[in-house]
């Protein structure tokens, strides 16, 4: 069914800050596909004042992902209940880009913003993958030597590889598990601090994500 394909496409769209798909975050209020192949998607966010740049990225990414689904003739993505709904919906529909959508308020597109959060996700993901190994007794030296190919397969490992690839960091089997945000290998002596930074980053992202989910659930409690 075409709607399933559209839903799957929406599942590839991430909230950049929370690093989770918008489908998992309950940000998709509705998704319908007409007999003519017009996909209509309505998105909603935890608050009226969620940052307009991240909001724009999610709407634009949803537009691109849904438009690329074979059989979809047109994508209509609308963001509801947000202070910049009109600008964002109009800008994305016109494929105007962020700078032209927010004339005079922005001086670049959002690629660098996206990259900052992919790098954070790549750091946090090292905690997700390495923490079980530390608990099982891996030493700093073991961890500094370990490559992605030597780590047991897991969804966390797949996610780490995907985020690294997306931001151009080494993601192959021969790439070190522990990497600084700039892609440099972590030495044995640096492992304790590095893992604590990775943990801190992960706590920040996960606490933020959980907070947003709770706010969304309260905001739409009456309607869902």
């Amino acid at each position: 069914m075409l709607r399933d394909a559209v839903w799957a496409a929406l599942g590839t769209v991430l909230d950049p800050e929370i690093d989770e798909p918008i489908t998992e975050l309950d940000f998709v209020e509705s998704c319908t596909v007409s007999a003519e192949g017009v996909a209509a998607v309505r998105l909603r966010l935890p608050t009226f004042f969620c940052a307009p740049n991240f909001s724009f990225l999610m709407v634009a990414d949803a537009y691109d992902a849904v438009s690329a689904v074979p059989g979809v003739t047109r994508a209509e993505i609308s963001l509801l209940d947000h202070h910049a709904s009109d600008e964002i919906n109009g800008g994305v529909a016109a494929q105007a880009g962020f700078v032209d959508t927010f004339t005079g308020e922005a001086n670049a597109e959002l690629d660098e913003l996206r990259a900052i959060f992919l790098r954070k996700a790549s750091l946090a993901g090292q905690d997700s993958v390495a923490r079980p190994l530390v608990d099982a007794g891996a030493s700093p030296d073991d961890l500094a030597r370990l490559t992605l190919g030597e780590v047991p397969p897991s969804p966390d490992l797949d996610r780490l590889k995907a985020r690294r690839s997306a931001v151009g960091l080494p993601a192959g089997d021969d790439a070190p598990l522990l990497l600084h945000p700039d892609g440099v290998r972590v030495t044995t002596a640096q492992v304790p601090l590095h893992l604590r930074r990775a943990r801190l980053t992960r706590v920040g992202i996960e606490a933020n994500g959980d907070y947003c989910k709770r706010l969304l659930a309260n905001r739409y409690a009456a309607t869902s």
Binding site: P46, P52, F98, L110, S139, L193, L195, R196, V203, Y211
Partner: protein, 358 residues
């Protein structure tokens, strides 16, 4: 003050408000923004314990009587620091101006400390206003909200803006030493991460004699905040929202966030704030005194919160920032008589002198 198990806590609520979000105060044509703002706050309110929830109408605007009861009679607070938030773009008389806050100061001078504010986009008129406010209310601190929308069309500013430095220099000249910064979702240019702490980092280095209290511990960027705070001794975390939004609703995340803050920032630079009237202080103070880490090895890496930790966070740290005279019965024993007060663990790591344990 709060007393539990024979321990007495002097409570400074270092971040609270006296706002007016009533319909009469909504700017015509911008009602959606005024309502959107308070609805957003009402969402935060609902993360507190259900028995503390108010109806929306009451939440829009509390009376002086409500505030005095909620904060002082029932809330255990000894001294409260008003933080202003203007938002005149959508609230006609402002959401929570210095003047409105100060209206309570006149009747209760021993209860409140009133902080001012500035917005560098107000230029020379803003500087003059800051001088007047500082003289009138003997300001020791200001609150700056970098995401505030301005009539000139701008939707935010950075502490490192040239104009901002003029205001910070003026603060120093006027004896204002505590800068409470609240990062928000918008800033110029809009494509940048408005929650980023880079401007605070630079400014804290350039103004070593000022204290920078980052409200909500930089949420949603506690990682940026914590790592910066390790390197800037004049940076503090305000725990408003950390306690209010997480301690009841999400104790697991509260434990982890507090663990990270104790680790990187340390107990001497964390300050309690209820964020009244998003939440009332009573359950926050009581719950925080009772709080401890679960008995789980996952928390072994974090410093254990002690009674002294809680006394500092609930009042003694803020009392130092604001030169509040705390009676002896609430004070900690002099340094040197308790556990050693050496480097915070995070500092050891950053200076690369920690052991190699992972």
């Amino acid at each position: 003050m709060y007393e539990k198990d024979g321990e007495k806590y002097y409570v400074v609520d270092a971040h609270m408000h006296y706002w007016d979000a009533s319909r009469e105060n909504w700017v015509q044509g911008r009602e959606n923004l005024a309502k959107g703002w308070i609805d957003c706050f009402y969402g935060y309110h609902q993360l507190g314990p259900p028995e503390t929830h108010w109806d929306w109408e009451h939440y829009l605007k509390v009376s002086e009587e409500d505030l005095m009861r909620d904060v002082f009679e029932e809330g255990h607070v000894d001294k409260a620091v008003f933080q202003s938030t203007y938002l005149k773009y959508w609230y006609t008389e402002g959401f929570n101006t210095t003047e409105r806050n100060a209206s309570l100061l006149e009747r209760n001078p021993e209860k409140f400390i009133v902080n001012g504010r500035f917005d560098p986009r107000d230029g020379d008129a803003g500087l003059k206003q800051l001088e007047e406010d500082a003289r009138r209310w003997n300001l020791k601190g200001v609150k700056v909200y970098t995401a505030e929308w301005h009539e000139n069309g701008s939707r935010g500013w950075k502490l490192t803006d040239t104009e901002s430095y003029r205001f910070l220099e003026k603060c120093q000249e006027l004896g204002i030493k505590n800068i409470h910064a609240h990062k928000g979702p918008t800033i110029w240019p809009l494509n940048k991460d408005a929650f980023s702490m880079e401007d605070v980092d630079q400014t804290a280095t350039d103004f070593p004699d000022l204290n920078f209290v980052i409200e909500h511990a930089g949420i949603p960027r506690i990682d940026d905040f914590a790592y910066m705070a390790v390197q800037e001794p004049n940076v503090y975390a305000g725990l408003s929202v950390v306690i209010g939004a997480l301690m009841h609703a999400r104790p697991k995340f509260f434990n982890r966030v507090m663990g990270e803050l104790l680790f990187w920032v340390g107990e001497d630079r964390l300050t309690f704030g209820s964020d009244y009237n998003i939440w009332v202080p009573k359950w926050q103070v009581e719950g925080f005194v009772d709080w401890t880490f679960p008995d789980d090895p996952a928390y072994d890496d974090y410093p254990r919160p002690t009674t002294a930790t809680k006394k500092k966070i609930l009042g003694l740290n803020a009392a130092k920032l604001y030169d509040i005279d705390v009676p002896a019965e609430f004070q900690l024993p002099p340094p040197g008589t308790t556990a050693d007060e050496t480097l915070q663990p995070g500092e050891e790591l950053v200076r690369d002198i920690a052991g190699a344990q992972a």
